[in-house]
Amino acid sequence: MQLTVNIVVLASIYALIACGYVLIYRVSRVLNLAHGELMMLGAYLLLATANSFSGNPAVAIAVAVALSLTVGVMVYVFLMRKMTGEMVLAAVLTTVALGILLRGVMVLIWSAQQQYPGQALGFSNPAIALPGGGRISTFAAILVLMTALTYAALFVFLRFGTWGVRMRAAGQNPLLAAQRGINLHAVYALAWGLSTLTGSIAGMLIALDSGLTNTMVIIGLKAFPAALVGGLDSLVGALAGALIIAAAEVLSIQYIDPLLSDVVPFLVLIAMLVVRPWGLFGTREELDRV
């Protein structure tokens, strides 16, 4: 039982992070390798607001969320916008560079200390006993719910929301989209905003659940095989991928060798790349986008 809980929790962590990769890739064909850093930035933003708005957590969280959204938009407007029309690879490397920059800046501002935004907000994190003997910490539970919520919202938005449809359109054929009066920059900015938002939420919840250090980045990196295994341009894929990776990881911890949990995601990834490079739910033509 506990095993399933662990898998679900880890899966939703990865899923919540992975959907950020998918959103951006799907719309602009750019793989955002700074996602881990942006996620961590979100967590640190919460820490900052927690310290400045100590007393009323609601405000702190709201502000942090709003900030992370703006951060995402700004990243596009001030940086990635310049990379539109460049080689996709160049764009990807730009995100890598952005990541390095962010990492440096975050250490400068918040030092490398272990921090507890949960404490700063005056939250406690009691464990909840589930029917069937499993237990789950409050924030882990919230995270699972959040993930479900986020995905539901994204599905609805992309299927029925005008801008959602436009995002998909822009992803399929930017030129035609532009000729149909869709402002590509707006769409891309939106994608970056949403992706950073979801990532940050993941970051915040992880930080609330088990503290915050500057190693969180690597969690973002581990979530990214999930996105690929599922297929970089499919949300369903991200969900499935996250589940697979999480299961592989937890089971290898339980039954094989805990150490493996570090490489297992990437082993799964390699296997997938060899068998079905475009991922479980990805569309095949993506492969030729270089």
């Binding site: 793989l31 940086l79 310049k82 990379m83 460049e86 080689m87 996709v88 690879l89 160049a90 990807v92 490397l93 730009t94 890598v96 560079a97 952005l98 990541g99 390095i100 920059l101 962010l102 990492r103 440096g104 800046v105 250490v107 400068l108 990196l221 095989p225 690929l228 970089l232 150490l259 570090d262 490489v263 990437f266 082993l267 990834l269 390699i270 790349l273 060899v274 490079p277 492969l287 030729d288 986008r289 270089v290």
Partner: protein, 360 residues
Amino acid sequence: MSDRMPRASGYFRTGYAQEMALTKTRLERVSLGAFVIALLVYPHLASPFYLDLASQVFLASIGALSLMLLTGYAGQVSLGHAGLLAAGAFTAGILSKELAAPIYVTIPAAAVTGAVLGVIFGLPSLRLRGLYLAVSTLALHFVVVYLGGEYETKRGFSTGITIDTPVIFGFRLYGGKIWYFILLAFAAATLLICVNLLRSRSGRAWRAIQAHETVAEALGISVAGYKLLAFVISSAIAAVAGALFAYYRSFVSVEAFSLFLSIQYVAMIIIGGMGSLLGALLGALFVTLFPYLIEAVLLKLPDAQSYAGVLFAVNYAAFGVVMILFLVFEPQGLVGIWRRIQSYFLLWPFKHKPVAGARK
């Protein structure tokens, strides 16, 4: 005859001999000579610290050249370069630790390991391109590092494998100067190998593949074969660089081959300028010295010591910024800048070559 042609009127080859010649004009020969002399004199003037810097640059150049071959010319993106370096280093380390193998055995062994890994790293490239390929190499990097780490702990080298000074025919290869020249020699050799590879059939094949795989295939180039070849050669060289690193620093440990190292190498070829060996060299120089530059500047500021704590962070950030600046404003890298200056003088009073703009 052609030597005497002034540069301004452009340089025209009048025979195959000149095609094959490494240097084209007298000016090139002269400046090259000057450069070589400078390199030979340098260690006798430089303090040990600057000697070390130079040696680091040479090490980096070897790695950067090999990556440039793969990415800049054959167009195969790799984020696993650090993994290859690690493989080389560990081959050297393990052989010299377990079998007390001498350096002239371990280095070739490292090359072989690299070549084999090259095939493995290369296999995905037969199916994958661009991002997906990059990702697969990334994944392989993690696997290699994991294995290395396992070896370290299993054998109880908890603080990394220390390698004692290599000895060739009773002569201890020890001290900054010696290693300066060893690394210089290897770097030069690598450069020559690359230049010649690129002038040969394989070089042309790689360029074709980079330009357009399908067309290359249609031209009768065995794309798969040449892709693998690119991976094998590049990996072998990288592995040798790793082994050299192990000997130069006289230790091996996985922590030395983080993902960041791979990124640094990619940064080198970007900042230097894709598709140019010269670029690889410039990039290696820049990326290696950059942190020390920042450090020097920062420590010049008043109350320097209190910055010491943030130095790494500042470095990190600055490195990111520089990378971004190059990617956004100078996609052709240092070489691009250099070329522009050059062609400005070449073509004066005209603005630019008709096709120059189209060059990607």
